[in-house]
């Protein structure tokens, strides 16, 4: 668990981060979203002390982060940035091995970890381990950047606009990968972005920042249905907010007992995808199956639409 307590950062007269307090549950993805200059990056960089707070403190699992040298703290926390920051004179494998080398892991353990991560990120070790960053595509460089951040098995991963430099298709894939990685390793992820869609896609919880303050910090659905502030309402209140809300809910929430003809829909699919599927088929309802493939009731267009209305 990460506790941020009354954290502030002041540059001259400008208060970039203003008395922020929030608690981040372990094994969740928290997205800090805001416009440029909102202080979201500064807030993130105070967690690994790339920026030293003016006042307030950060506790990780109860221990004050100010209690140990900053560089040792940073070795325990993964860090990935927008332009990936790969070392151009080091191979992919050497890049990924950076923090394990700093922690003086044994060679065999480092090699094993590098191969594991390359495989997880769908980069064949035999092909990619000895390549240099400039020989990779933008999407591959970004994946290596995230793999490097995860190399020393950190419990916490900080990501500063990690997908900002990618084109929309590659970005979608990278977001998908991040969700997979998160499921696999259970790392606590704190991600900064200016993209509200990205926040809704990834975040278990979303913190909306403006002018150094966190205006609202809650589950995505709550941000949509009960915005705490006009700014939050403006940020979340796009024309597709009903669809956004549907995309946050699983089919299992709207499923009722019964059966329906046609191919069934997995209960882990979002209501948005289910709605799209039913519209495409031109039917009113479809069967639902659970993860093991067993029937789990049925879902109707009407039930789906009910979930998309403002309550």
């Amino acid at each position: 668990m990460i506790s941020i307590e009354n954290l502030s950062k002041q540059y001259g007269t400008a208060r970039v981060v203003d008395d922020v307090s929030m608690t981040i549950d372990p094994h969740t993805i928290t997205v800090i979203v805001g416009t440029s200059g909102s202080g979201k990056s500064t807030l993130l960089r105070m967690i690994n002390r790339l920026v030293e707070p003016t006042s307030g403190r950060v506790l990780i699992d109860g221990a004050d982060t100010a209690g140990e040298p900053a560089h040792l703290l940073r070795r325990r926390i993964g860090y990935a940035i927008q332009s990936h920051g790969l070392f151009p004179h080091r191979t992919v494998a050497e890049n990924i091995a950076t923090v394990p080398e700093l922690l003086r892991w044994e060679r065999a353990r480092i090699r094993g970890r590098v191969e594991e991560l390359l495989t997880v990120f769908q980069l064949d070790p035999a092909t990619y381990a000895d390549k240099f960053p400039h020989q990779l595509s933008g999407g591959q460089q970004q994946r290596v950047g995230v793999a490097r951040a995860l190399a020393a098995e950190p419990n916490v991963l900080l990501m500063d606009e990690p997908f900002g430099a990618l084109d929309p298709i590659i970005r979608g894939k990278a977001q998908e990968d991040l969700l997979d990685i998160h499921r696999r390793y259970g790392t606590t992820v704190i991600l900064v972005t200016h993209d509200m869609d990205e926040a809704f896609r990834l975040g278990d919880r979303i913190a909306v920042m403006s002018a150094g303050k966190v205006l609202q910090y809650d589950r995505p659905a709550v941000l949509l249905t009960q915005p705490a502030d006009p700014f939050v309402a403006r940020m979340t209140g796009s024309a597709d907010r009903a669809l956004k809300l549907l995309s946050l809910t699983n089919v299992s929430e709207a499923a009722k007992p019964g059966t329906a003809p046609g191919p069934p829909i997995p209960e882990s699919a979002s209501l948005r995808d289910a709605l799209s599927e039913l519209m495409w088929r031109g039917t009113e309802s479809a069967g639902v199956i659970d993860a093991s493939g067993q029937p789990a009731g049925c879902v109707t267009i009407e039930a789906i639409l009910a979930h998309g209305r403002a309550h």
Binding site: R74, R76, Y79, H84, G85, F87, T98, G145
Partner: protein, 387 residues
């Protein structure tokens, strides 16, 4: 289609071929002098060497010229130009033997302007062909070593012994090896001390931007002082130092000689190394440094394993500039008694013995050229980030 790809009119080749032909037809191949200082008689190729040798030279030069103008293949261009260089060099050696009466050590047979222009044009044809072959760093070093090796073997074998420059060498053989060692020691010693000082200074200038302007400004100012003037400026304080402190004198510090030369060369060496260190460090991607910091590297680790390795090619470029510059400047340091190959140059000028000047100048140019080739190859081999 195929023919047009294999043959193509080459403008640079045509120019060099034209120079080679002018040199061959209109200019003296050798100059024969009764002794080392009287003006000599110019002899054309046909007058200088036996007919069979002359025909060989003409054939080789014509082939190289034609290939340079129309053949596209860099391999063929290199082969024909190199062959012509070898044949022309052997011909000038043959002229030396043919024109020197047996046992006569006073007659001087010097290569004429025609020979030098031929050598120059053919040499440029060869280097141009090498450039077109795009050899890797290792191959370039091998080519250099082969060239130097063959030349040294020819000298050791005595091929050129009857030529005037080698006559001067025969007289000065022991001094020659001493002066070339002194030349290298002055150039490398000043470079070494400069790197030891300039590298940390460059890192400091990078870290403290306020310092950068002042340091680079001062070093720029030093660079504008002419070498002779700087030697002169250093003479007085060093002489005073030696007089005031016997210990300094015992250490070899005097107004003239090695001490002022090393100090002046050291001062000249600072700017290129400091400036390139700053430039190289500034060129390092800020994202890489930010990531290194974010992953928990200490500032010393970032400098050692990220910043310096990434800046190294640019820093080495600065060192290359300094080395080539110093090898040239050391020649001037002979004026203040520092020794080196410049000694022969200035003695030669004093005695109007052009052969003695060449004995100093040709090795100086060869050293500078070799240093440039070696360091360029090193820089290319080190730069792993080059796409």
């Amino acid at each position: 289609m195929n023919v047009s790809r294999r043959t193509k009119f080459d403008r640079l080749g045509a120019l060099l071929a034209l120079f080679a032909l002018i040199a061959l037809v209109f200019m003296p191949f050798v100059v024969a002098k009764a002794n080392r200082i009287v003006p000599g008689t110019s002899l054309g190729l046909l007058a200088a060497v036996p007919l069979s040798t002359a025909i060989g030279v003409i054939a080789a030069v014509l082939v190289a010229a034609c290939v340079a103008v129309i053949v596209a293949s860099p391999g063929l261009r290199l082969a024909s130009a190199t062959l012509a260089v070898v044949i022309v060099s052997l011909a000038v050696a043959a002229a030396g033997s043919a024109l020197t009466p047996l046992g006569n050590k006073v007659v001087r047979i010097a290569p004429g302007s025609g020979f030098w222009l031929l050598l120059c044009s053919l040499g440029l044809m060869a280097t141009d062909a090498i450039t077109r072959l795009r050899p890797g760093p290792l191959l370039r070093v091998v080519l250099l070593l082969a060239f130097v090796g063959i030349a040294l073997a020819a000298f050791a074998h005595g091929t050129f012994d009857h030529l005037s420059v080698m006559r001067e060498y025969a007289v000065n053989a022991t001094r020659f090896s001493h002066e070339i060692a002194q030349h290298l020691w002055l150039a490398l010693g000043s470079l070494g001390t400069a790197v030891v000082v300039a590298l940390p200074l460059g890192v400091l200038c990078h870290r403290v931007p306020r310092l950068r302007g002042a340091v680079l400004g001062t070093l720029n100012l030093i660079q504008t002082i002419p070498a002779i003037a700087l030697f002169g400026i250093l003479m007085a304080p060093l002489a005073a130092l030696a007089t005031a402190y016997p210990l300094a004198a015992a250490l070899g510090i005097r107004g003239i000689g090695t001490a002022p030369a090393i100090i002046a060369l050291f001062l000249y060496s600072l700017l290129p190394v400091v400036a390139n260190t700053v430039l190289g460090l500034r060129r390092v991607s800020p994202a890489a440094v930010e990531a290194a910091r974010g992953m928990g590297m200490t500032p010393a680790q970032i400098l050692k394993s990220i910043e310096l390795p990434l800046a190294l090619p640019v820093i080495l470029t600065g060192i290359r500039i300094v080395l080539v510059q110093n090898i040239g400047l050391v020649a001037i340091a002979a004026l203040i008694g520092a020794g080196g190959l410049g000694t022969f140059i200035f003695q030669g000028i004093g005695q109007t013995a052009i052969d003695l000047v060449l004995l100093g100048a040709v090795p100086t140019v060869t050293l500078a050229f070799s240093a440039a080739v070696l360091l360029d190859a090193l820089i290319e081999a080190m730069d792993r980030t080059r796409p």
